[in-house]
């Protein structure tokens, strides 16, 4: 049992304990360490100014991915190595990306620049030769208000791959790996006492090393918040909307990040992050893959997990319409045992789910599409990338000889939870697969939902989309297989 977080920053070892672990990592960098190259703008993971590289042990190697330090708390960083903008200028030499950005006028006010530099440097960890599409994709999580992005793209494209050192070359891994491997099986329990407006509160943090420990811990502290990627709860905490006294981190929990095909199922571990799923889906679920590419940003996808998206119960959770129409199942575990729940029965109301306070999602499983099934997913948002959906839809069709045999329709953003449109589905069953059918279904779909007007869109827009998306589905299916 340890009471501190072990982490490395730019190759330097830190043991952090007490109050300091309960702060966003960007604050720790800027306020405690004076590493002010990392900027904070939005404190909610939507601008990328705070981007750093997160080195995590995978197969006895440190693998570096970009993440938002503003929505990653120090307690999430156990046994990891973070490289900040200060770490990229190794031994006084500029990183190739830095030099290229100078040469291409890629900075104007400069405030977003460190984030872009780190994100661009991170791209070279995985791929040497980058296309323009790669560059745009890799920098989707970073906002710039001055340049219009073009000179940033040009700078990254101009970098000669052989001039980019790998992070491992700059920061030798072996000592860190050894250190991490010695400590990663430790359970961590830490706490500190805080006085908030006169009242004393004890903030507790647990990082159990086994599933059993975690379930026991959750039984003992049913109000505790589980944190894996933390890409939603950290935002809520930064904005003062939630104040969990007890945090249980899943970061050191082994064996929960699997993705495998087994018998009739695709089985997904709860800790699988979106970047891994995106990679996996490319062939297995190409339609899902498309929507995952506009899921958050690379920084978010690198740490956010599928179980987090499900448990967070957002009515516009990007993955949910897909899981709904695929009849995915969720395994819930607690000290009392395990049970499987159909995702369609998982949500009871706004942010209200089937999960009890003692349960943890331990697996998600679904069957791949069969030969007669056609499935389409839609996400409408104000901005195509790095935006929360206004409206989402998943539609799964089984059609034979021009007749709809079966159809499942799930809409998000039109009510307090993601909805199946059962009346519209029933109407469509056994109808001709033709434009007129979907036109009528569209009108019906409008009546089946009760969206609200909010900051993202009006109720009217959502109603119109509910109607139109069925037509869009019809046209999209026709395009693939002329009707």
């Amino acid at each position: 049992m340890r009471d501190y977080i072990l982490l490395y920053i730019n190759g330097k070892r830190y043991q952090v304990s007490g109050e300091q672990i309960f702060q966003p990592f960007s604050d720790f960098l800027r306020h405690e360490q004076g590493l002010t190259g990392t900027k904070v703008v939005c404190a909610e993971g939507d601008c990328g100014a705070c981007t750093a590289l997160l080195g995590t042990v995978k197969n006895h190697e440190l693998i570096y991915e970009i993440f938002n330090t503003c929505i990653y708390y120090v307690y999430q960083l156990d046994c990891q190595h973070v490289v900040t903008i200060e770490g990229l200028k190794a031994n006084g030499h500029l990183h190739a990306v830095q030099q290229s950005m100078i040469d291409h006028f890629s900075s104007q006010c400069g405030y977003c620049t460190p984030g872009f530099v780190v994100a661009a440097a991170g791209m070279f960890e995985k791929k040497n030769v980058l296309s323009e599409q790669d560059v745009r994709y890799g920098l989707t999580g970073n906002l710039c208000r001055c340049t219009g992005y073009q000179p940033i793209i040009q700078a990254v494209l101009a970098v000669a791959p052989d001039t980019v050192p790998s992070i491992a070359e700059c920061f030798p891994s072996s000592a860190m790996l050894q250190d991490f491997e010695q400590h990663t099986t430790d359970s961590i329990a830490a706490h500190y006492e805080e006085t908030i407006t006169g009242k004393s509160v004890i903030k507790k943090f647990f990082n159990p090393a086994t599933l059993q420990e975690i379930l026991d811990c959750k039984k003992q502290y049913p109000a505790a918040a589980f944190v894996a990627g933390g890409t939603d709860i950290s935002v809520q905490m930064n904005k003062g909307k939630v104040h969990p006294d007890t945090i249980i981190s899943l970061s050191n929990l082994p064996n929960l990040d699997f993705i495998k095909r087994q018998e009739e199922y695709v089985r997904i571990g709860p800790k699988v992050c979106w970047a891994e799923l995106e990679h996996f889906c490319k062939n297995t679920f190409p339609e899902w893959h498309k929507t995952l590419t506009v899921f958050g940003s690379p920084q978010i996808r690198n740490v956010g997990t599928i179980a987090g998206n499900i448990a967070n119960a957002s009515p516009v959770g990007d993955s949910l319409p897909f899981l709904f129409v695929m009849n995915a199942e969720v395994e819930l575990s607690s000290v009392h045992g395990k049970r499987w729940v159909d995702i369609n029965d998982f949500y009871h109301g706004y942010k209200n789910t089937e999960m009890t306070k003692e349960e943890l999602i331990t697996e998600i499983r679904l069957a791949p599409l069969n030969a007669v099934q056609k499935m389409k997913l839609y996400k409408v948002s104000k901005r195509k990338d790095l935006d929360i959906a206004i409206f989402t839809a998943g539609i799964l069709l089984e059609e034979m000889d021009g007749v709809i045999q079966n159809i499942r329709i799930a809409y998000g953003g039109v009510g307090p939870v993601v909805l199946r449109l059962l009346e519209t589905e029933a109407f469509l069953k056994k109808k001709q697969f033709c434009l007129e059918t979907f036109r009528e279904a569209g009108k019906l779909a409008r009546g089946e939902i009760t969206p609200i007007s909010d900051v993202r869109a009006s109720a009217e827009y959502r109603l119109q989309l509910s109607e139109n998306i069925l037509l869009q589905f019809y046209y999209d299916v026709c395009e693939e297989q002329p009707c």
Binding site: T36, G37, T38, K39, V41, C42, E44, D46, A49, T84, I85, K89, V97, Q98, M101, I102, D103, F105, S107, Q108, C109, G110, Y111, P114, V117, R136, Y137, T140, L143, C144, R145, C146, T147, G148, Y149, Q150, P151, I152, I153, T197, G198, K239, G240, Y378, V380, K382, R383, K384, D385, S453, V455, A457, S458, A459, E460, Y461, Q464, L465, N468, Q472
Partner: protein, 800 residues
């Protein structure tokens, strides 16, 4: 070594930017005893303060001081044009979040807790949010102003075609990445140094002095750089600076204010929303014969720069077109929003949008290509070249720009292709448009057109330059560095731009109106020339040679490539640093102050006539867009842009201004939407909900070029201002959307507001394609309140 001007010399802070070493306000390490400062603002948009209770807040550990307007030793009332804005609300609260109470503490944690415990009781009054409501209540800021020429009523009477309607454009948040921030350092006796993220250090100095009732000479106001500004730190940096100054004054400790992004977006002013009534008369060929526009802007609670912004709107109402009979009226409405303020374009975008909208409507009505309407009405070279306010449009090449860009962008063929595409059965729709800009350069307030600079040469031949211009990323420092380097013929690396400080440069104008390089560059050049005079005199004596029969000849002295020489003896060279050392020993001054005033600018507000501008920056842009008919989703397929920016001092910097300005404009026109709760609280107050352009929103094809203009022979090194103008070229994207809608609008003229979000686009498509005619009352407004979102607009038919 070649001259520095005209070269792509990197931004002078680029190295600091890419390494993260460049310091912004909140990166400065905390000093001993330094305090953090925050505020509690009005809980409602309009009301009277009944009581303020912060006794409990005071008890929180770490709280050092809590202040209200009663703790202000000097003035609480300020304003750059009309003095009407309270720094801390006294009795009346006029916008939600308006600062009332200032809290100084040892750490942010204490501040957060204390804020929760400040109890402000307000008697709520009915707030006014829209222009329509403000007009009903006769709530205005300043007077309605007018610019007119000819007889517009007559033009309407005589005209074959008349078109009339109302146009709406929403606001825009600056979304500079570095939020408002300032640190105040108290000195001995009354002295105070304030470091602030401001475009206007002089104003910061002045308001702080007035606030504390001390002389301006007691205050030093410094700005090293800003993490973006775009106009948002021209006046609105004043409030955070005053907060820091007040806390420092009372505690005698350094005091730091750093707004969170959320607070910054909630309480600072934005681009003005506009509602404009327009009536245009035109011939069957599309020649505009008369135009009346009544601009109404939503000014927010206080005047700020609103009247000057309205003035610029009025001076750009005709954009690049000659309109013989014209009447332009401008009114600023007082509402219960934070005071709206300067934002790139300064009212120009809102008014140019109106005329470009009119042109699109004329083209739809006449079933002509809008390009032909534009070129038909474009300002001429020999005739049709006088603006409504009487200034002659000279030395511009707009017709050439139209012609060249239409060629290189393949406009006519693509226009036909778009038409063809839209005739096919598809779930997609295309649109294309080419729009021009003619943007006047100079402050329309005459006295602001001045700049001063200080140039100091040190004994090793290196140079420090200080001007009143501030660096917000636009590259001002880099350009001045090049100008100064060339004046002395030295490497630009030997010239350094110093933080802007009121100690070095007094009574400076804000860095705004795109005129930063013009004013400060020429002031720096003036200072250099004063020093040069002494150096050249010395050098002429040095190179004079009795043996070779050469008398001292200052006109033959050259400063080039880091050397000085007499062109009659080019092989005999002296290093610049040697010349400087010699000058020092000869007791010749190696420092000078320069001064510049823009010649010939004068505009009479009363008559609406004069020459407000030194020159115009012009350009054109073609945009092609793709729309998903069933979702309204918009993609920009291609952009081709051509601008006349004179002889560029730094093509790398200028290209950045053009591309960045254009993309920022596209944000205003498409995705950036300010949405409010019905109580006036901004809902889209962070990047989660306020969507500025992302890297993926860049057009697939993006061509940016400049054109030579041999007629432009004035201004610093024959350059032109470039900061704001490209912003307005983004109107081509909006016009292309309008063009696309014309293909589904049957025989109606499709309406389209700003911003053209996917929601707005789908609403219009549905409106024009659905069989059921919507016949609800018009609920259009220049602002977006939640409750007004569900109403649909009555379809309008063009009155002829």
């Amino acid at each position: 070594m070649m001259a520095a001007i005209g070269k792509k010399i990197p931004h002078d802070s680029a190295l600091g930017h890419v390494t993260g070493e460049a310091l912004y306000i909140d990166d400065i390490p905390f000093g001993k005893n330094e305090l953090v400062v925050d505020f509690v603002g009005s809980p409602c948009a309009h009301g009277k303060i009944k009581s303020i209770d912060f006794e409990k807040a005071k008890q929180i550990e770490g709280i050092v001081g809590i202040y209200t307007h009663q703790d202000i030793p000097g003035h609480n009332l300020f304003g750059p044009i009309i003095v009407d804005e309270y720094f801390l609300a006294e009795e009346l609260c006029e916008y939600l979040g308006q600062p009332i109470v200032i809290i100084a503490a040892k750490n942010w944690k204490a501040v957060k807790q204390a804020k929760q415990l400040v109890n402000i009781q307000i008697e709520a009054y009915e707030p006014v949010f829209s222009i329509e409501q403000a007009c009903k209540k006769n709530q205005y800021l300043g007077e309605t102003r007018q610019i007119k020429r000819g007889n517009v009523q007559n033009a309407f009477k005589k005209s074959e075609c008349v078109l009339e309607d109302t146009f709406y454009s929403n606001g825009q948040d600056h979304f500079y990445l570095e939020s408002q921030a300032a640190i105040a350092y108290p000195g001995e006796t009354n002295e105070l140094t304030i470091i602030s993220s401001t475009q206007n250090p002089t104003e910061t100095q002045q308001v702080v002095a007035e606030l504390l009732d001390i002389g301006q000479h007691e205050v030093v106001s410094i700005c090293k750089r800003m993490g973006g500004a775009f106009g948002g730190k021209e006046t609105q940096a004043a409030i955070p600076a005053m907060m820091a100054a007040l806390a420092a004054y009372h505690t005698k400790c350094p005091a730091r204010v750093v707004y969170t992004k959320d607070d910054d977006m909630k309480i600072t002013g934005k681009r003005h929303p506009y509602q404009t009534h327009y009536k245009a008369a035109f011939t069957r060929e599309g020649q505009i014969t008369g135009l009346r526009v009544d601009f109404y802007s939503n000014g927010g609670a206080f005047a700020d720069l609103s009247t000057a912004i309205m003035e610029r709107s009025m001076l750009h109402a005709e954009n690049a077109y000659y309109i013989p009979h014209i009447e332009i009226n401008g009114t600023v409405c007082k509402t219960n929003f934070p005071p709206n303020t300067a934002f790139r374009g300064f009212g120009g975008p809102q008014s140019m949008a109106v005329i470009e909208n009119i042109i699109e409507e004329i083209s739809i009505y006449l079933k002509k290509d809008a390009y032909d309407i534009r070129t038909l009405n474009c300002y001429g070279v020999k005739k049709n070249n006088v603006t409504p306010y009487g200034q002659i449009v000279k030395n511009t090449i707009l017709p050439e720009i139209f012609e060249e860009l239409s060629q290189t962008a393949d406009y006519k063929q693509r226009y036909a292709a778009v038409k063809h595409f839209n005739q096919q059965k598809s779930t997609k729709l295309k649109g294309i448009a080419m729009t021009p800009i003619k943007f006047g350069i100079s402050f329309t307030t005459k006295f602001l057109n001045q700049g001063n600079a200080l140039v100091n040469i040190y004994k090793d031949g290196t140079v420090q330059v200080s001007t009143g211009g501030t660096e917000m990323g636009q590259g001002l420092n880099t350009k001045i560095r090049q100008i100064v380097a060339d004046e002395f013929g030295i490497d630009h690396n030997h010239v350094k731009l110093m933080p802007t400080s009121t100690e070095k440069n007094n009574n400076t104008s804000p860095t705004a109106a795109s005129a930063g390089t013009d004013l400060n560059g020429l002031a720096a050049m003036d200072a250099c020339q004063k020093i040069r005079a002494g150096l050249i005199g010395l050098a002429s004596r040095h190179f004079a040679s009795v043996n070779e029969g050469l008398a001292p000849a200052p006109e033959c002295i050259r400063l080039e490539g880091g050397y000085v020489f007499d062109e009659r003896l080019p092989h005999k060279k002296l290093k610049f640093s040697e010349l400087i050392m010699a000058a020092y020993q000869e007791r010749i001054s190696l420092g000078a102050r320069g001064f510049y005033t823009t010649p010939g600018v004068d505009f009479n507000r009363e008559t609406g006539k004069g020459n407000p501008f030194f020159y115009y920056t012009t350009g054109c842009c073609v945009a092609e867009v793709l729309i998903e008919r069933l979702t309204g989703n918009l993609t920009i397929e291609r952009i081709d842009l051509l601008m006349d920016i004179g002889e560029s001092i730094n093509p790398g910097i200028d290209r950045g201004q053009i591309e960045g300005g254009l993309i920022q404009g596209i944000g205003w026109l498409t995705n950036e939407e300010l949405r409010y709760q019905d109580n006036g609280a901004l809902l889209s107050y962070s990047p989660t909900t306020y969507k500025i352009p992302n890297i993926q929103d860049l057009p697939k094809i993006f061509h940016v070029n400049t054109i030579k203009n041999p007629h432009h022979t004035i201004n610093v090194r024959r350059s032109k201002a470039v900061g704001e103008p490209p912003f307005m070229l983004s109107l081509s994207v909006w016009a292309a959307v309008k063009n696309a809608l014309s293909y589904v609008a049957d025989n109606q003229i499709p309406k389209l507001r700003i911003p053209a979000t996917s929601e707005e686009i789908l609403r219009r498509i549905t409106q024009y394609t659905s069989k059921a005619q919507t016949d609800l009352e018009s609920a259009e407004s220049e602002i977006s309140l939640l409750s007004s979102l569900t109403n649909t607009e009555k379809t309008r038919v063009l009155p002829v």
